[in-house]
Amino acid sequence: MASETQAHPPADHGHDAHGHDAHEHGHFGPEMWVIPEASGLVAEVNEKQRTTPGIFRMVLYAGAALTILGIVGFVLKAMTAGFSDHRAWGFYVATFAFVFTLTASAPLAACAFRFTKSHWRRPLSRIAEIFSLVSIVNILLFIPALIALPDIGVMTEGGEQMVRRSIWFQELVNPSGWLLAGMVGLSFCSVAILWLAALPDMAQSRHLVTGFRASLYGKLAGGWYGTKKQWQVQKGGLAILGALYFMMVVFVQFLVVSDFAMAMIPGWKDSILPPFYTVISFQGGLAAILLVAYAMRRWGGYRDMIGQAPFWAASKVLLGLTLLHTYHLFAFFITYWYGRLEVEQAILNYLMFDSYIGIFWAQLFFTFFIPFPILVSNHARREGWGAPLAAIFIVIGLMLWHIRIFAAAFAAAPAELGGLYYLPSNAFSFPAMLLPVPGATFPDLWDIFMILGGVGIVLLVFRIGMMLLPPLSLWEMKEGSMYQRVDTLIRGRYLVLTKPE
């Protein structure tokens, strides 16, 4: 059966030249995607990286400008509001959480689909891993948020203790150290994943690049010779680090969303929130990856290397995550709505139906009602634009989600208690409640600056990462081109894949 061992499309083909015959047979799917031949790959990617299109340079400048705007906003906010009143920092925390949500889980996409040996992941892996660099920004963004976060227990002038509920159960008065340690560990782990994954690529490219990158690659990948032992260590390390990172992400997200959102709203006891947050973070991370992949394919000249198949496959995963998002939302809603307890009614009114009703519906449309029809359409998924289009809406919707949860949580507690709420010294008695339900909170100008700055700094750091590192996972692409073949089965031409252990 193995009539052709390695059937690669000719090197000089046009964009639509290959895969024609396969397309006639495939019933729903995209045109057959064959990874280009491995020999010229390294040089080609380096060439593409050198000739950056203008739009990418624009991203860099825009990111830098927005970052400066954000810093200005932050400084002015700190000067005008100070850190004593946490209610001024709701939108800042929402911005931090948004950036953290998207970027912390993006590298997981690389690990997860490498674990499942999905062929289509190969061009997306590096995009996902470069998001690791943003994790350093996450730490920086996290420190002011930690300062703004009120302590679990505060003694007031009257000698009474103001406390909020927390997952730390009043045992550790100041969990900030643990939270920060979690963030730093997360950042360290994800950068290690990036380094380990990019190691072979940097080693391959170290003679092709010049200037700063040459010395960087020399330092980072100097000892890589591609021996069998090194490959074993690299692949094993990636698998172990990936599993470790997965658990750490889930754990830190649990800490962040419980401490910065749930504990801030009196009486909010919602066990689905951490899984919910994790699901939306996977959704957002994948959406961000797909947006970058689309930009690279559309403007960066990676049309053949990325192909339609990654979008076709990834958009199905995105559809699943979008449905899961809505499912978790519904599971939360139905339990509270049906339960009809006083505090549940108050929280539903606050987060969904009264104070934040506009943001809630906008968010629901952006994260479900608009992306869902796009993602179920075979046409939109196949052509490669469906998933990125849905991803734009999802990213905007997730920003709104963070405002609805985090900004609302920071503004929730009644003012007369100094923003915290009173729990009687005997914590076993009547639980504190969100009553009366406060109104919505609105951002001031500095908040808007900081939100823009949060988006800007991600663009900036990510773009720098794309400039410094090979933007395509070269070794995975090469591996992919080795494990693939186009072959005839009965009357059709199909892609043949192997997936060794």
């Binding site: 059966m1 799917g29 509920r165 159960f169 899984p275 339990t335 072959d487 043949v496 997936k499």
Partner: protein, 462 residues
């Protein structure tokens, strides 16, 4: 990567139809024993309907006991079918092929068994049609659609219908094979069931489209069934520890955990009973074991969430339930011991057994791990439902525990016998490993030379 040889189609037919065309000597004795257990339970149910629920161990505090635990357990088992056939089919996992049919059939039988439980648990089961089937137009009495107990039959019956369709569509090509190899009245039956299948391209195309469509459409049903079952408990405000938002995904993941384990055990049994070593191979069990590690870890995460946020509120009533669950037997009940046993045998023991590759490929160890998961998941439901009820009241000072009595124990045991019996009888008339799916896998399978190694490879349709 697949292991084992590509077998000729004739041999596949011969091997996989062996269970139908020949009767092993152990078959009827085993079925009879199982049948006797079921008969005894049926008589017990009759006595229970005749004299009332007084003969069970239920009391005025714990009104939902073994039957509801067992109901949720079997609904959980039913989630294996879709997990394996629909999700893995959409994910194009090659190693799903021998497992799909057994999983789907187990789905159907466990759903049927599960539905018996809430019916016999009611005080007046003969009136159940009121609620399960909204038939009574004439008197203008329409069942209340607000309770989760009415969502239950809707979801379960939808799931049962769609799973049955799913199995039937997958069975049609195999029915045709059977039609061509039988004589007499079985031939007539198989001819009707095969519905004129000739195996022409159009029929195949329709069969594949139907399979893919049903896979995609059944997924929301799959999620909704156990979510709704979880809402039987999650909607109840008066019992602390039940009213938790995480219940829906927690139950779904737990269901997949126990269901897939049950399927693995069933496959190992089938392999042993019918000599299907060439079809249910070590690599399939291995892959399922790896899937189970992921599922189990996800389940454990939800379990931890449920417990942490149960305590998080620091509300006295809820803490009392948690104390009953976790602290040493202050009230004469050792729930804490059971809790430790349950977490140990549901998560830690099996995951440790699944981690080394050699153990995943050892069928004895795999069987032990899968049985341990299912015992643990049964305990999980019991420990989730009963302590909350034993200690449910906000006001009263009397707490009361629950001890099941023999009718409940017998009926619960008989459900296991019932499902096993149905599976055996099914294997007697229908192929439990899909012939056409195995053949398709063999056709799509090829080889690839990489360096000095020859690897198996797969043709991809998109």
């Amino acid at each position: 990567m697949q292991e084992g040889k590509v077998l000729p189609a004739a041999q596949i037919n011969r091997d996989l139809l062996r269970s139908i065309l020949e009767t092993p000597r152990w078959f009827w004795p085993v079925v009879s024993i199982l049948g006797l257990v079921v008969l005894a339970a049926t008589i017990t149910i009759g006595i229970m309907i005749n004299t009332g629920l007084g003969i069970t161990g239920l009391n005025y505090k714990v009104v939902w006991g073994f039957f509801i635990t067992n109901f949720v357990f079997w609904i959980g088992i039913s989630h294996a079918g879709v997990m394996l056939s629909a999700i893995l089919r959409l994910a194009k996992a090659e190693w799903r092929r021998p497992a799909t049919r057994a999983a789907e059939v187990l789905t159907i039988f466990s759903l049927m068994t599960a539905m018996i439980m809430p019916i016999i648990h009611t005080g007046r089961p003969w009136r159940i049609l009121y609620w399960a089937f909204p038939y009574d137009f004439a008197r203008g009495i329409w069942p209340n659609i607000r309770p989760p107990l009415v969502w239950d039959p809707s979801a379960i019956l939808t799931y049962l219908t769609s799973s049955t369709l799913f199995v039937l569509i997958a069975l049609v090509p195999d029915f045709a094979v059977l039609r061509d190899r039988t004589t007499g009245w079985p031939k007539i039956v198989y001819t009707m069931l095969a519905m004129g299948w000739e195996g022409n391209p159009r029929q195949w195309k329709l069969q594949i489209i139907a399979g893919v469509l049903l896979s995609a459409l059944i997924l929301p049903v799959f999620v909704s069934v156990h979510s709704i079952v979880s809402w039987d408990f999650g909607m109840a405000v008066a019992i602390k520890s039940w009213h938790s938002t995480v219940f829906a995904p927690y139950f779904v993941v737990g269901a997949v955990h126990s269901g897939v384990s049950a399927v693995v055990f069933a496959m190992i049994l089938l392999r042993w009973a019918y000599g299907w070593q060439d079809y249910i191979r070590h690599e399939h069990i291995d892959a399922l074991g790896r899937l189970l590690i992921v599922v189990a870890t996800g389940w454990f995460y939800f379990l931890v969430m449920e417990i942490i946020f149960g305590i998080y509120g620091l509300e006295g009533d809820e803490l009392a339930v948690r104390a009953l669950q976790f602290l040493p037997g202050e009230y004469g009940v050792a729930y804490n011991v059971w809790m430790i046993v349950f977490v140990g045998i549901t998560y830690f023991l099996p995951v440790i057994l699944w981690l080394p590759k050699a153990w995943r490929r050892n069928l004895w160890i795999m069987s032990a791990a899968c049985i341990s998961v299912n015992v643990g998941m049964w305990l999980e439901r019991y420990l989730l439902f009963v302590p909350g009820q034993a200690n449910k009241q906000f006001l009263t000072f009397t707490w009361n525990d629950y001890l099941p009595r023999w009718p409940e124990a017998l009926i619960v045991a008989a459900t296991f016998a019932f499902v096993s019996m149905l599976m055996l009888l099914f294997s007697r008339v229908f192929p439990l490993v899909p012939l056409y799916d195995i053949k398709e896998g063999d056709i799509l399978r090829t080889e690839m030379q990489i360096g000095r190694r020859k690897l198996t490879a797969t043709f991809r349709e998109d």
